[in-house]
């Protein structure tokens, strides 16, 4: 085991700010991007469904 304690792990040999500053921002961005993309698809799906229902009503 490399780390003696959780504190040592977070301290990262004095590089905690740099290592966690890199990982935290990357993690946030890579969680937000899929969320935004999924929201965009969901909204497009809603609009497509509305269009389809309108078209069907127009035909009948």
């Amino acid at each position: 085991m490399i780390w003696g304690s959780a504190q040592e792990f977070f301290h990262m040999g004095g590089y905690g700010l740099y290592v966690w500053g890199s990982y935290a921002v990357t993690a946030v961005l890579m969680l937000v991007e899929p969320w935004l993309a999924a929201r965009r698809r969901r909204r497009a799906a809603q609009r497509a469904q509305e269009t389809a229902e309108m078209a069907e009503m127009g035909h009948s």
């Binding site: 590089y15 500053g21 991007e33 993309a37 965009r40 497509a48």
Partner: protein
């Protein structure tokens, strides 16, 4: 008689929508599992670096993000060119779907680079060939997005975007070879086809696992965005309307 396979049918938006829907759960699962294993090896198995201490652990996201930032650009330029030359709808949509993800990877490469440069070189940023050309890549992505979003006519926007994407592609080899062509603070290529890797194999394992994780993530998020673009553009086509009226996609 062998049956001819109609490869171009896979290039149709309806086929893409169906196929990507099948692949997405596997891509997300791969991204999650590979990230978990990669980070475990990177933080709990790989030892402290002899010269850089623990700061080197930024490499496990820095290098994969930098690689993907270039690969996604090449893919974007390729699909934009295909869309332009063959007038293929799906190819142009794919180019647009790739751009935000490429920009994100470029930003991550620059951000993690700054957080690695500060303790290693003593500066968050230097106007060095590698860093500057990567910054230009970010501007190319942002310029492409701004341009295609600014033009209302979709087909014209795709063509204008393709031109920018193709011309900008010249920057990718410049980024890649910048560490060889110019004197630079940035270290040389981590992996080379012709030489043995310059890093310990356990560190390399973690970095490659994270690279595969980023690949899977990129495919997944780009597919989701491409599906959104397909629905936005093809909402009034017969196949989309049929899909909804049959309730195939309603639950998802």
């Amino acid at each position: 008689m062998t049956r001819r396979i109609h490869w171009f049918t896979f290039a149709s938006p309806s086929r893409f929508y169906w196929l990507s829907g099948k692949l997405l759960p596997w891509l997300w699962a791969s991204a999650a599992v590979l990230t978990a294993i990669g980070l475990y090896i990177g933080f709990f198995v790989a030892p402290t670096d002899a010269t850089q201490g623990e700061s080197y652990r930024i490499i496990f996201i820095h290098v994969p993000a930098a690689w993907l930032s270039m690969i996604v650009y090449v893919a974007m330029a390729f699909w934009a060119a295909m869309g332009w030359m063959l007038n293929a709808r799906m190819a142009s949509m794919m180019a647009r779907a790739l751009a935000p993800t490429g920009a994100l990877f470029t930003f991550i490469a620059l951000w993690t680079g700054a957080f690695w440069g500060k303790p290693t070189w003593g500066a968050w940023w230097v106007w060095d060939a590698r860093l500057t050309s990567e910054l230009i890549l970010l501007f190319l992505y942002l310029g492409y997005i701004a341009l295609v979003e600014a033009i209302d006519d979709v087909r014209r926007a795709d063509k204008a975007g393709a031109l920018v994407a193709i011309v900008g592609a010249i920057n990718v080899p410049i980024i890649y070879f910048s560490v060889r062509w110019w004197n630079t603070l940035h270290q040389g290529a981590t992996i080379s086809m012709t030489a043995a890797p310059k890093m310990a194999s356990i560190m390399l394992t973690a970095m490659l696992l994270m690279t595969f994780a980023f690949w899977a993530y990129a495919f997944a998020v780009v597919f989701v965005r491409a599906r959104a673009i397909v629905l936005e553009r093809e909402a009034d086509t017969a196949w989309v309307q049929e899909m909804w009226l049959q309730g195939k996609e309603a639950a998802r």
